[in-house]
Symmetry: C2
Subunit: 321 residues, 2 copies
DNA sequence: CAGCGGTCATAAGTACAGGTTATGACCTCA
DNA sequence: TGAGGTCATAACCTGTACTTATGACCGCTG
C-alpha cells in the first residue's frame, strides 16, 4: 500500500484527538474478555477458571481496570460478583471490541493457514476485508475443527487458484464471471460518496447529480482497482471522473484521508459502516447513477461445492441484501 | 446483572471455539495501532515517533506481531515500509478493532467524567450502550476539548436529572415524553426476533405470525425493562407473551444465551448488528406486529440546547433512519 | 454451633514482554 | 563521498501480570 503522499498533513489531524495512545486508556483484550466472562458467570473465580488464570489474577485485573476507568464495575459480595450499572455499560462496549477481535482472529487464522488445510478460500480484497472474517467466525462456531486458509487477490487471481485446484471456493465482486467458473450471487455492494461531517457536501439538502460528481476532484482508489472501475463506468456518460484529488492504494488510507477532511471520497458501503454509524463520515446522496456491483461465490464448473465449502456458501446466503 | 441461571451449559458452548483465550492470539491494541500508523505513514520510524516510542521498539513490535500471525505484514526497504498484501488485509481488520476501542474509550471517558464537566448527558441504557459512544467519538473530533459526563438510567431518571439541572441533554426511548421536557425524535428502534443459525426458526421459509410468537417461550429481558414493555404492548392483542424461557437482566447476557442456542430472543436491532453481520444470530421475520419505538433527545422546556449540547444534538440528527 | 464450600482480598516472589540507548548496515541522493 | 534517511541488532532495565499460599467473610447444613 502506498504511503500517504502528504505525510505530515492528514496525519496530524488524525493523530490529534487523544494525544496519548489509545492503548494506555483502554484495558487490553484479556481484561475485556475477563469482564465479559465475569458478567456471564457471575463470579470472579469462575471467570478466572474459564480463562485459565488464577483467581487472584482475575481479581487484580478487574481492580486495575476499575482504577484505569475510574469507575466501579462489579459489586463483589461473598456469594458472587454482579455488574454495577456502569459495569453493564462498559461490558457492552467491551463486547464490541471483543467481537472485532474475534473477527480479526478468524481472518488471521485463515491467512496463516497452511496449504494442506481443509478449506481453501480465495477472495477479492473487498470481500476478504469486510465480509469473510464475520463468516469465518460463524463457520468456526458451526464447524469448530475446520481449518481455513485464505488467499486474497483480484478476480483473475481467484479464478486461477480455483482452476488450478488450489482453492475450493472463491468470492469475487464485479460484473463478469471469469471463464470456467460457475457462480451464485450472494449479495450486492454499492459505492457511496462520503465526506467528513464538516464538508460542504455533508450539509447539502438535496442529492448531487452525476454531472457534479464527475466534475469534482475526489479521493479515489488507483485506476484498475475494482471500485475505481465501477465508478469510471458509471460516470462515463457524464464525461468520466475528474482528475482525482488524491489517489491512494488502500481502503484504510482512503478512509483516513476522508475522515481528516481532505475531501469527498468514493468507496464501498461495506467499508464505511462503522464510520457512518459513528458519524465520522456522512453519506452524500447521489441521484441518477447506479454505482453497484454483484458479489458472487464462484467455483470451477462441474465441481459443486461440498463439505466445508458448502457450509461456508450456505452461511453467506441471505447474510446480505 | 443476573448470572446465567445455567452456568455450565451455555458457557461451555460460548467458551469452546478458541480454547486458548483470544488475547493470546490477537496482538494487543498498541500493536494494532502501530500497524495502522505504519500503514498510514509508510515508515516504522515515523510511526514510532507518532506513538511516542522508539524506532527499535516499533520494529520489534511489528516483528512480534508477524511471528504471532505467521505472516509477513510489511515489506521493509531502506527507504520505508509498505504493507504486504496480507498486511493490507490485517490492517483493515485491525482498523475495526481500533474503532471499537475508540468507542469504548469515548464512553469510558464520559462515564468517569466529573460533575463539573462541560457537557452532562443523561441517557437510557440502550442509547448509552449502542449509540452514544459513536456520537462521542464524533463529538470529540469536532470539539476536541469538550469534556462529557454520562449518566445512564431509565426514562424517569433521565427526566429527573434534566429537571434538576444536573444534566444538559437527555436521550430516551419509548412512546411517552416525560412531563416538563421538550423533545425531538432522532431515530427509531425496532425490536427483532433473532435465533441462532441452528434454530428451527432460522430455517423457516415464511415469516412467523404474532400468535405463534406470543405462544412461544422466548428469552427476554425482565418485565419493566424498555424492550419488554414494547413487546408486551405489541403482543397484548394476541394474548400477551408466553411464560419466558429465560429472563435475563442485561442485553449482553441475552445475546450470549441466544447465540449459544438456548432459544429465540427478542431485542433491539441496535444491539445485534454485529451478530447479524457475523451470522452468529439470524433475524426471524415477523408479520403483522409493529415492535418499534421512537428514540428522542430531550431537554427541559424553555432551555433550548446550546453550546456543546447543541453540537451533540446536531450530530445525532440524520445519523439514523 | 461447628464446619464445609463458596466467595474475594492480600502478600511475597518470579518471569517476561516491552521499553530504553547505542550502534551498525544498507540505500539514495546531492 | 558524505549526509540523511531507512531498518536491525545487542545489552540492559523496569514494570506488569502472573503464580502460590494464606486469611477473612458469608451462608448453608448436619
Amino acid at each position: 500500500m502506498t504511503a500517504d503522499p502528504r505525510p505530515g498533513r492528514a496525519t496530524a489531524q488524525l493523530a490529534a484527538p487523544g494525544a496519548a495512545p489509545l492503548a494506555h486508556r483502554v484495558p487490553d483484550l484479556g481484561a475485556l474478555e475477563l469482564l465479559l466472562a465475569v458478567a456471564r458467570l457471575g463470579s470472579l473465580g469462575r471467570a478466572a477458571r474459564e480463562l485459565g488464570i488464577s483467581q487472584p489474577a482475575a481479581s487484580g485485573r478487574i481492580r486495575a481496570m476499575e482504577r484505569l476507568l475510574g469507575v466501579a464495575l462489579v459489586d463483589r459480595s461473598p456469594r458472587g460478583s454482579r455488574l454495577t450499572d456502569a459495569g453493564a455499560l462498559v461490558t457492552d462496549w467491551a463486547g464490541r471490541v471483543v467481537e472485532a477481535a474475534e473477527a480479526f482472529d478468524a481472518g488471521a487464522q485463515a491467512l496463516r493457514g497452511r496449504r494442506d488445510s481443509r478449506l481453501r478460500v480465495a477472495a477479492s480484497m473487498t470481500i476478504a476485508e469486510y465480509l469473510l472474517p464475520g463468516w469465518l467466525v460463524a463457520l468456526r462456531r458451526a464447524r469448530p475443527d475446520t481449518a481455513v486458509s485464505l488467499l486474497a487477490g483480484n478476480s483473475a487471481a481467484v479464478a486461477e487458484r480455483l482452476l488450478a485446484h488450489e482453492a475450493d471456493l472463491g468470492f469475487v465482486e464485479g460484473t463478469a464471471v471469469p471463464e470456467g467458473l460457475d457462480s451464485a450471487v450472494i449479495g450486492h455492494d454499492r459505492l457511496l460518496v462520503v465526506a467528513a461531517p464538516g464538508h460542504p457536501w455533508a450539509r447539502r439538502r438535496g442529492p448531487i447529480d452525476p454531472g457534479e460528481l464527475a466534475g469534482t476532484a475526489l479521493i479515489l482508489r488507483e485506476p484498475g482497482s475494482g471500485t475505481r472501475q465501477v465508478l469510471d463506468a458509471g460516470l462515463a456518460p457524464y464525461g468520466g471522473v475528474a482528475e482525482p484529488l488524491l489517489e491512494l492504494a488502500s481502503t484504510t488510507a482512503l478512509k483516513a484521508a476522508a475522515v481528516s477532511g481532505a475531501g469527498p471520497c468514493v468507496l464501498s458501503e461495506l467499508a464505511v459502516g462503522e464510520e457512518l454509524a459513528a458519524h465520522r463520515l456522512v453519506k452524500v446522496p447521489v441521484e441518477g447513477v447506479r454505482l453497484r456491483r454483484d458479489l458472487r461465490a464462484v467455483w470451477p464448473v462441474g465441481t459443486r461445492p461440498a463439505g466445508p465449502a458448502r457450509d461456508l456458501l450456505s452461511l453467506t446466503r441471505g447474510a446480505l441484501e
